[in-house]
């Protein structure tokens, strides 16, 4: 674990893997809830957790430098099911990258339990981990100028859902009608770091058809 200074009152804590970052994030949230850590923002990311607006940056730096990375990713947390139609324009390209048929992309994606590793890019956009290493795909060589809201996409080790229409370079494999972000709702973000996510396939008529190996998971 490395503790890097970020200006006068923030620290960036760097670890070796996404799992370690998730575990560290959970531990830092626990410390804050217990009043052991006074900080304005705790921002997890791929390999780091940013602590911004620390009340006592020196003390936090000393304590973190002496701490060890928590070993296990906590398994608790909310589960969200997102209905999805696997009808994205890049489904064939993703199938080619994986070396499988298109139906197999949908089956594997829907059978995976994802976790929101971190958010960014846009309010309510979660970077979801859980796909096996062999399912990594590159971003598109040329980003689209407009990706529709609800597009279910892949890039690198992540899957994600565009909360609103925006430019984007991820590979689009499907569509969901779930509202990822609604600032009039509490909470506004459907997905937040630590949320578990399952994609539940639907046909074009909106009927839910679970692939054989996917089961519903309770909250």
């Amino acid at each position: 674990m490395r503790v890097l200074p970020v200006g006068p009152d923030a620290l960036l804590v760097e670890v070796d893997s996404g799992d370690e970052a998730e575990a560290l994030h959970a531990e830092l949230l626990r410390r804050r809830a217990q009043g052991l850590l006074r900080v304005a923002e705790i921002v997890p990311a791929a390999r780091t957790v940013l602590l911004d607006g620390l009340a006592e940056p020196d003390r936090a730096a000393r304590e973190l430098a002496a701490a060890t990375v928590p070993s296990a990713v906590p398994r608790g947390g909310r589960t969200v099911e997102l209905p999805v139609r696997y009808d994205g324009p890049d489904l064939a390209d993703v199938a080619a990258h994986w070396g499988v048929r298109e139906e197999e992309v949908a089956r594997v994606h829907a059978a995976t339990e994802f976790r929101v590793a971190f958010c960014g890019f846009a309010p309510g956009f979660g970077y979801l981990t859980g796909l096996p290493e062999r399912c990594r795909v590159p971003r598109r060589a040329t980003p689209r100028t407009a990706v529709p809201a609800g597009a279910v996409a892949l890039a690198g080790p992540y899957t994600g859902v565009y909360p609103r229409s925006s430019p984007g370079g991820w590979q689009l494999i499907g569509t969901t009608d779930a509202v990822l972000w609604d600032h009039a709702r509490v909470p506004a973000a459907l997905l937040s770091p630590g949320t578990r996510v399952r994609f539940v396939p639907m046909d074009s008529a909106g009927r839910v058809g679970l692939p054989r190996q996917a089961g519903r998971v309770g909250a």
Partner: protein, 296 residues
């Protein structure tokens, strides 16, 4: 009959509603937003008799014109500019009483970029996540003003400004930004760090509420590739592939993949918000207070 509203007669190039922003939601991908020249916005509120966090208007270069439907007290701060009330000169940096139906014209900035217009009662658009700020990166909050926009106003407080006029620092001829190095200064060559600390840069015209872009010598990296996305702070000096330092302002993205070579001290950011394109910029590294930080 009270009709607490403000009609936008001339919106100007870019006029947005701003308050103290919406910090605390960065983990959901929500930028902090808020007035770029926060001390100027706070002063405008004080002069208009508002609490510090009331929503004000932030103009960009060419001001705006407003017609309140009921009598209000208005104060214009930030970038110095001519202020007119129904065509007659009125005070800048001081409370101005505007009768119902009169037109307050906030003219083009004489120096600096952003003027702040506080109206007694504050702009009372519906808050989003506790803030009325327009966030130009992610589209939260009210849209930038358009001609004809009608903005609701809150009830005026019975507080009165205890000052008639307040001194404000004018936009500096040179923008001096104190920085502390890190977290990713080790992604740059020693020569790049010398360049950052010693060579002059200029404010680029591509600057906006998301970031202050600079023109000047490129900073050379000591390693290729991109970082995995990591959290970004206000004032982060990010270095994109073109090597020109970019200082993150209020609407900055919450995570990013380009290395941050240094962080600008928060106290120096209001001046950055007022630096017109072409202004010379100097980055001055200062030591972070000694902390027990382990570096490898």
């Amino acid at each position: 009959m009270s009709d607490r509203a403000l009609v936008v007669v001339r919106a100007g190039a870019l006029t947005t509603v701003q308050d103290e922003g919406r910090p605390g939601h960065a983990h959901l991908g929500v930028p902090r937003s808020g007035a770029l020249d926060a001390p100027a916005a706070a002063l405008a509120n004080r002069l208009a008799g508002n609490p510090r966090g009331a929503a004000v208007l932030e103009t960009t270069l060419d001001g705006c014109a407003l017609r309140p439907r009921s009598a209000v007290t208005v104060a214009v701060t930030g970038a110095p500019c001519p202020v007119r009330l129904d065509g007659r000169p009125a005070a800048w940096g001081a409370p101005v009483r505007v009768p119902a139906g009169a037109v307050l014209e906030v003219g083009a900035a004489v120096r600096g970029i952003r003027a702040y217009v506080a109206v007694s009662g504050g702009v009372a658009v519906e808050p989003v996540l506790g803030s009325r700020s327009t966030d130009l990166l992610s589209g939260l909050g009210p849209a930038p003003l358009a001609d004809g926009t009608v903005l609701p106003l809150g009830p005026p407080s019975d507080r009165h400004a205890h000052v008639d006029v307040a001194p404000q620092p004018g936009p500096a001829a040179e923008l001096v930004l104190r920085v502390t190095l890190g977290p990713r200064d080790d992604w740059f060559t020693p020569e790049a760090l010398r360049v950052l600390a010693s060579r002059p840069y200029r404010v680029s015209s591509a600057s906006n509420r998301i970031g202050l872009r600079t023109e000047g010598p490129a900073l050379e990296r000591s390693r290729p590739g991109e970082l995995p996305s990591e959290g970004m702070v206000l004032g982060a000096v990010q270095v994109p592939p073109d090597g020109r330092p970019l200082v993150f302002l209020a609407d900055h993205p919450t995570t990013g993949g380009y290395p941050v070579v240094a962080v600008v001290h928060a106290a120096d950011l209001p001046a950055a918000a007022q630096a017109v394109p072409g202004t010379p910029v100097r980055f001055v590294p200062v030591r972070r207070r000694a902390v027990g930080v382990r570096r490898r």
